[in-house]
């Protein structure tokens, strides 16, 4: 599904964020990417979404070489991924409903089906009654759930989340972790990074660990 082949990422200025990374996520797998902040987790995720290009090696997503994609192919790659970035990046001037609608709007989805899908996604994250709320009136955990609803509304083949439980109270963090667990149980491939892997250890997830840009054995 997603495969890294000897991937390195060297930022201008000489900082090596990733060094010779190789691993694979198979279909239906839940993979936890562990490591301290600054270990390169965010960079790794950015490489998958073509937000950055590797300086060496190859990143494969569903058989496509991400680094070799043309500018006009990148949007279609991103549509096949459900992305939850570190800052949840909601649009604060739109309702929860419109925020979750955004990926469908962007892909030109027929409006009536889109509304139905948005409601399904909101129901899955338990926010059905908040569809007309503005994001800033919600708690941090609820905002994160809106971001997750937005990531799954497209029914992506793989869900990728960068520190989805960061900045959350332990109770909220456990809720979010359980949510990912339920998606995994429903057959979604998931890659998520966290500095607090105890959250996911009860779910028997496979884990890989990054330290200073290198995979730990």
């Amino acid at each position: 599904m997603i495969r890294f082949e000897n991937v390195s990422k060297l930022y201008p200025g000489g900082h090596e964020a990733l060094s010779d990374i190789s691993f694979e996520i198979r279909h239906g797998e839940l993979l936890v990417l562990a490591g301290h902040s600054g270990a390169g987790k965010s960079t790794l995720i950015k490489l998958i979404a073509a937000l950055e290009k590797p300086t060496a090696g190859k990143v494969w997503v569903s058989g496509q070489d991400v680094g070799a994609l043309r500018q006009n192919q990148i949007p279609y790659l991103r549509r096949s991924l459900g992305l939850v970035m570190q800052e949840h990046r909601l649009l604060n001037d739109r309702t929860v409903f419109d925020n979750v609608m955004l990926p469908l709007l962007v892909t030109g989805y027929p409006p009536r089906d889109a509304a139905r899908r948005v409601r399904v996604a909101l129901e899955k994250v338990g926010l059905s009654e908040y569809e007309n709320s503005m994001p800033l009136t919600l708690s941090g955990g609820e905002q994160q759930r809106v971001a997750i609803a937005r990531a799954i509304v497209n029914k992506p083949s793989v869900l990728i989340a960068d520190e989805p439980t960061a900045h959350l109270d332990p109770a909220y963090a456990r809720e979010i972790a359980a949510l990912f667990r339920s998606f995994h149980a429903a057959g979604v491939t998931i890659l998520l990074s966290t500095h607090d892997e105890t959250l996911f250890s009860p779910y028997g997830a496979r884990r890989i660990e990054l330290a200073k840009g290198r995979l730990q054995a």
Partner: protein, 302 residues
Amino acid sequence: MSAAFVPHRMAFVRALRRLLGKPLGTFLSALVVGIALTLPALGYMLIDNLGSLANGMTGKPEISVFLNRNVDQAGISAFENRLRTDKRVSALRFVSRDAALKELAARGAFADVTGALPENPLPDAFVLEPVGSDPAVFESLRVSLTAMPEVMHVQLDSVWVERLHAVVELGQRTALMLAGLLGTVLIIVTFNTIRLQILTQRHEISVSLLMGATRGFVRRPFLYFGFLQGMLGGILAWGLVEILILVIAPHVQTLARTYNIVVDLHGPNVWQSVSLILFASILGWVGAALSVRRHLHDGMVD
């Protein structure tokens, strides 16, 4: 509606919503565009009016040759034969003194004067058109005609018409150059409006790109916005030109009457109006396209 147009319709609606969402800002930007375009458009219209006035007169140069009063019928025929064999003359018309008097009497203002005259004071005359349009030929013709004994006076009639045409042409060129310069103003205004919009919507743009929006999807509403803003400016300019012409028309007519000319000052016709509005719309689009190209880059994603 075909599926291919759906994103365009959506982009159009979004652009329209942005325009209507800030009515005052929209109006002010459109007003800047409108006023910038009014100047060349009004200038062009006035020149156009002057041009149609000039077109009513033949641009072909004519030479009037007035004969001495003592030349008799035989002398006139001999003179006419000489002119007919002259290769520099392409057409020739004889105006007898009686015919000239009648024509003069027919012009209202002189009717009473001609009636009061004891005898016809006018000379016989030939009106001839020279070959080609080379001023040197006219001049040589004028010199040789003046030298003939039968000739009292030679007059090149058309010089002022030519001058008028030249002035009209100069005016049109000036108006077009002005339109070019102020069109640049329009592009700059749109460029800046779009730049500010991109800055304020930075976050939305970056999230959209992250969610898999194509660059076209992000770009389109801005282009439509520029187009619509230009169009509004064009419509305002058109309205201003119509109003200004309406305001100055009576004054122009008063002035024209003192020259005994009837002037019907007209505003832009349908074709000119559509061109003006289309011109403004296209420039708005161009301004937006330049701005989007400059300010919408891939670094916006994260």
